[in-house]
């Protein structure tokens, strides 16, 4: 594959998609949400175990492309152990990093106090592939649905 493709299909992403670590059911979940992309039929479902305002565990069942699957799995890893507030802050930061091709700076040196993307970092390469942004956003749509009735 070409260099630019390598950028997007970072080994970490491809590896995650091939062997997701957080895929499956979560019997003890008390929240769940789904993201669907009607244009391609992709779908990801998040099960979340919430204790008070803390996310103790997340599992996903994803039927989607490598980017979507990796994004769901990375979301699950990054947000496990976070408060709902932190999770939302990571989401805001992630969105900002996807909005524009000029966002590199913001990605690399974010304003103080913003949470790090951590394991999700490689996904931000998708900002150069506008048509694929939906793919990595889908798990976040599911998260939003899951948290709809949680008031912080």
């Amino acid at each position: 594959m070409s260099d630019a493709a390598q950028d997007l299909y970072d080994l970490q992403i491809v590896e995650r998609a091939r062997n997701p670590r957080y895929a499956g059911d979560l019997p003890e979940a008390n929240l769940s949400g789904e993201g669907r992309n009607p244009l391609c039929g992709d779908r990801t479902r998040l099960d979340i175990a919430l204790q008070g305002y803390h996310i103790s565990q997340i599992r996903h069942r994803t039927r989607g492309c490598a980017l979507c699957t990796a994004a769901a799995d990375m979301l699950a890893e990054r947000l496990s152990g976070c408060s709902v507030e932190e999770a939302q802050a990571v989401g805001v930061r992630f969105s900002a990093a996807l909005v524009t091709q000029d966002a590199i700076e913001q990605v690399e040196s974010p304003p103080e106090g913003t949470p790090s993307l951590g394991v999700m970092q490689p996904l931000t390469a998708v900002r150069f592939h506008k048509a694929r942004i939906r793919c990595v956003e889908l798990p976040w749509v599911a998260l939003k649905e899951a948290l709809t009735h949680v008031r912080v």
Binding site: P38, L39, A131, V141, K144, E145
Partner: protein, 418 residues
Amino acid sequence: MNTDKTLKTTPAATLDVQAVRAQFPILSETVHGRPFVFLDSGASAQKPAVVIDSMADAMRHQYANIHRGLYWMSERTSDAYEAVRGQVAAFLNAPSHEEIIFTRNSTEAINLVAHSLGSLMKPGQAVLISEMEHHANLIPWQMLRDRSGVELRVAPITDAGDLDMEAYGRQLEDGKVALVAMTHMSNVLGTITPARQIADMAHAAGALVLFDGSQAAVHHRTDVQVLGADFYTFTGHKLYGPTGIGVLWGRRALLEEMPPFLGGGDMISSVTFEKSTWANVPHKFEAGTPAIVETLGLGAAIRWVEVIGFDAIEAHEQALTAYALEKLADVPGLQVVGAPKQRGGVISFTMADVHPHDIATLLDRNGIAVRAGQHCAEPLMRRLGLHATTRASFGVYTSTQDIDALAETLVRIRDFFV
């Protein structure tokens, strides 16, 4: 004709007409061996080279179907297409680019509203138009009336060709009018209607208001928010842009409430973080493969117009229209139709003893293009007691020489017949 006479008005110097003309390849053509004098911009404007080239360049270098294409050419073309939506929004000062719907022309834009908003109207409600509408802003409402039992009301005009504001107010009084659909500039009389006042009165009576900006958007800056409009339409080919592309702007809340018009591909909702209904608008109203290349051409046209600037365009056209009215007043037997308070660059006239058809053909034999007939405004003709008129309409490239040629040739035509 007395060519020594000192004219009271001359066009403002803010616009270099010769430089503008040089950008329109077609203006170098000859017709019947004469230089082409084009005075039918009100029907459709000519296109500057940048518009023509933008379309050709897209097809030569960057073209593919838009949306859902995951490859470079499609993404680039989608971006360029959607960027024009932003341009149009800025052009109209619309609150959001998501309120811009691309249609084939102004006619389709009005039909879209008549079908979609119309399907929400009930017998007992009324649509109010004026006596000076183009058929495009009349027939769709007649068809709605005949389909749904909604009443169609017609606000009269004065003999000068202005909307009769008192009568208009009376038509609104019973509160039945759900929508006022009115021209922002008459294609026959040149009348620029007092849009803000029309909108305020409509809103006070609980009605929405749509302006047919097909003519108006070409001649002066449009600000849908200042006008207080709920819907606004215009058509690319009159704005120095391509055929096959028009615009409907509508307030988001209304567009969201309205059901789609045409069904097909590309009108399905999409998933985003917001999951808000905006995802449905404007795509809900754009079924099938749009006029992609024409949209890019419209973008080029708007860019071109904005570089010249509406201050210069309006000053030029106002001065030119005043010049033309003076010149035409010297043509024996010529009668200008209407004397509206505010007039854009459109003048209709009759000439005693010479029929508009004969005038148009004889002008054409001298290379001069004007329109003759009823101008898609038959009821207005009846109101004016006329069967047909000759119409000269001006664009940013129209020169005083064009007007001089028109006036001089009209004198010779008159001599020929009388």
